[in-house]
Amino acid sequence: MRTFGRILGALAGFLLFVGTAGPIAWVVVSSIKPGYMIPASPWSLPTQPAWGNFAKAWGTTGIGSGFVNSLVASLATLAILLPIGAMAAYVLSKYRFRGHGLVFGGFMGGMMFPHLLVIVPLFMLLRDLKGVDTLWGLILVYVAYSLPFTVFVLGGFFDSVPDELIEASMMDGCTHASTFWRVMLPLVKPGLAVVGIFAGIGLWNEYALAKVLLTSQAGFTLPVGLANLTMTQQYEADWGALFAALVIVMAPVILVYALFRDRVQQAMTAGALKG
């Protein structure tokens, strides 16, 4: 009985491993196949690697500048988002005041609304602020649209910190603000990591807003460049370059995961307990 269970477990483990890693490996293998081979025999191995796909992907989509733009947009957004999101989450978690429910509900409502819908008014607003086709405009929008998730997750972390710590800190002569910065914020570091990782990945892959708010090729982020390549291949059917571009987009995320796996999982563990 126990042995049988163990075999079953190993089998399930094997299938899960192949099921997860297989498709990703397939994208990588396909990226070095000549373009016409991909739809003709998608599951064969390349006879000789077509490294030219990568040169083409890099050249045609401006993936180099896209890479830098995506990196700047994601990191700058996090730099603004984490402090102001934590401040709001803390106040909403630990303080009761008139309009509390309204403010909290307002933030949560933002998670349930398709961003697609606000694109036209948002574009007109940014145009009035002279922020269309600028990175700072995109960053401010990213911060605003990442707030609901941030407040939701960090609020959960603050909820689990006992109120007595605040009382004790205030008793020691700390102000409301210094209690937050000195005592409370360090306690939710795992929460900041969770938000940083998840919001960061989400921003790295964000497409809909960037698509509309960035209008010139030089300003494109990676997903916009990638999607353009996907669209172009509908007219020119260059699958090889498309898959190479997919690899270029996936690689940094996978690298970050591989390098910081333990950190990510620790943070996630904490997040799941308290979120």
């Binding site: 498709p23 599951w43 948002l122 995961y257």
Partner: protein, 296 residues
């Protein structure tokens, strides 16, 4: 809790986030909602006020109700699969075997790559002539099971659901794995017991104790099924075949951005908002109390 002299502090701490949110999210949102009372192509400044007409049309639009049905099916099917799969896989990855370690090293990758990439991968897996699924079926002599998975109404929605579950399962497993780890040691000692007792123990002790995780998981599912938008757009061109995979968001996209009924599309968005909110509230209400607390 109310505290002495909290007023300026509360205001000051809420202001940066609140202002950004007000300007970039709520204000455009209100403008959008306002648009749902107009007949507007979304292509020019020309608009015509029509009051509640868009909502009356919506109530009488069979395609809209198809899209509501498909959205609910995705939420329920993906929710059940993700929670069941997440609990099961959560047990597996908590083990210290070779496969568990191997899975731990990769199971978050699908979540990390872009949904566009996920959609392209699954599109190829399910493709009729060249797809891996059909080729495997042929290879093992089940050629008669072969079909155009994403082109037939019976299987297309299932294909989208499978891609979404593949995308999100790692995250849910991690969620449940850490939930399981956090349970008191005596619960985990169940591993020492034999099969039937373990199952009994799981069902009556472990499962109820996982309620906070389940609550988070269900709310995440409801909110994140929104993400199937990118999948449906890429995998079935936003609703093929003949509306079989039409979801509320893809229908919104079609009406607003393809057939130039932007006012009508915003009324779909309002409906989508109400549905998601209603389900989320129902879930929060359902999980409002810790079932194990009563026991203690």
């Amino acid at each position: 809790m109310r505290r002495k002299g909290q007023g300026p502090f509360v205001l000051g701490f809420l202001a940066p986030a609140g202002l950004l949110y007000l300007v970039f999210v709520l204000w455009p949102l209100v403008q959008s909602l306002h648009l749902s009372t107009f007949q507007w192509s979304g292509l020019s400044p020309v608009k015509k006020f029509v009051g509640a007409d868009n909502f009356q049309r919506l109530a009488a639009d069979p395609v809209f109700w198809t899209s509501v049905r498909n959205t609910l099916i995705l939420i329920v099917v993906c929710g059940v699969a993700l929670i069941a799969g997440g609990v099961g896989l959560g047990h597996v990855v908590n083990e210290e075997t070779r496969w568990a370690r191997a899975i731990r090293s990769i199971y978050l990758y699908p979540q990390a790559v872009s949904l566009v990439v996920v959609a392209i991968i699954w599109y190829f897996l399910l493709s009729p002539q060249i797809g891996l699924v059909n080729n495997l079926l042929r290879a093992v002599g089940l050629g008669s099971w072969e079909r155009a998975w994403l082109g037939e109404p019976q299987t297309a929605l299932g294909g989208v659901a499978a891609a979404f579950v593949w995308y999100a399962l790692g995250f849910y497993s991690l969620l449940f794995a850490s939930g399981l780890k956090s349970l008191p040691a005596e619960v985990n000692e169940a591993a020492e017991l034999d099969g039937s007792v373990r199952l009994h123990r799981f069902w009556h002790v472990t499962w109820p104790m996982l309620w906070p995780i389940k609550r988070v998981a269900v709310v995440y599912t409801v909110v994140n099924v929104v993400n199937t938008f990118a999948l449906v757009i890429v995998m079935t061109r936003g609703g093929d075949p003949d509306r079989a995979t039409e979801t509320m968001l893809t229908y919104l996209y079609e009406q607003g951005f393809e057939v130039s009924r932007f006012g009508y599309a915003t009324s779909i968005a309002v409906a989508n908002f109400l549905v998601v909110m209603a389900i989320s509230l129902a879930v929060l209400f359902w999980f409002r109390r810790d079932p194990t607390a009563a026991r203690a």
